[in-house]
Assembly symmetry: C2
DNA sequence: TCCATTGTTAAACAATTATTAAAATGTCAG
DNA sequence: CTGACATTTTAATAATTGTTTAACAATGGA
């Protein structure tokens, strides 16, 4: 189970347009990830800004990174996001989760 | 489908300890919700601070409210959170979502 | 109507955050 | 070793955010 502070950190990391776009791009990419420069090119973000955001996302546990030569590959780590969602819906509706599912007004 | 700005707003609304606690309390409570004062008492938050956070959460679409006499009841609205989660996992792993599910390192 | 209760709003301040530019680190090819 | 490339770090600035206090509505019982 995640601690509240971890969940807040993950939510805060995603609550910024550039970082949300970075994360989504890497979610779509899957486990192989993308090099920092490829992300910068796709999203038109300056290297320094991107590095700052990578650090925020990594520190929140949302990204993994590995070095390959001169490149650093970043990939989404789904564990934290799954934990975040679980935390939010925990004990939903006092144990009667029907009311929380998609498809009810 | 939610727009990125809506998702960012919802994430930002939840990315704060007090608001996360408010939201979780109301998620657990379910559709009936709780009066503002009951939330204040449970979470030991001053009325003004609570009102500020209610506004942020409501503006993000995460809470519904209804007035009943002198009381205002707030309840979690699950539509936005479900949309938020859907947005985050959309096109996960390039259409091979096995890698995103809970239970993989 | 009067008054206590419930909740919101406004103003002010401290603290945090995003971005840029510049300098620094690390890595490989020749 | 040297030079070019990929990314990070630092420092500085502008903008946003959370909390408090005090004052302000709105509701309903006596």
């Amino acid at each position: 189970m995640m601690k509240p502070a971890q969940v807040v950190m993950a939510l805060a990391a995603l609550a910024q347009p550039t970082r949300l776009a970075i994360y989504r791009l890497l979610v779509a990419r899957g486990p192989d990830g993308l090099a920092a420069g490829q992300v910068a090119e796709k999203l038109k973000v300056s290297p320094a800004t991107l590095s700052f955001h990578f650090k925020t996302l990594s520190h929140a546990g949302l990204l993994d990174s590995r070095q390959d030569g001169r490149f650093i590959y970043y990939a989404a780590n789904f564990t934290v996001m799954n934990g975040m969602v679980a935390y939010l819906t925990e004990n939903c509706c006092g144990g009667n989760p029907d009311a929380c599912k998609p498809g009810n007004k």
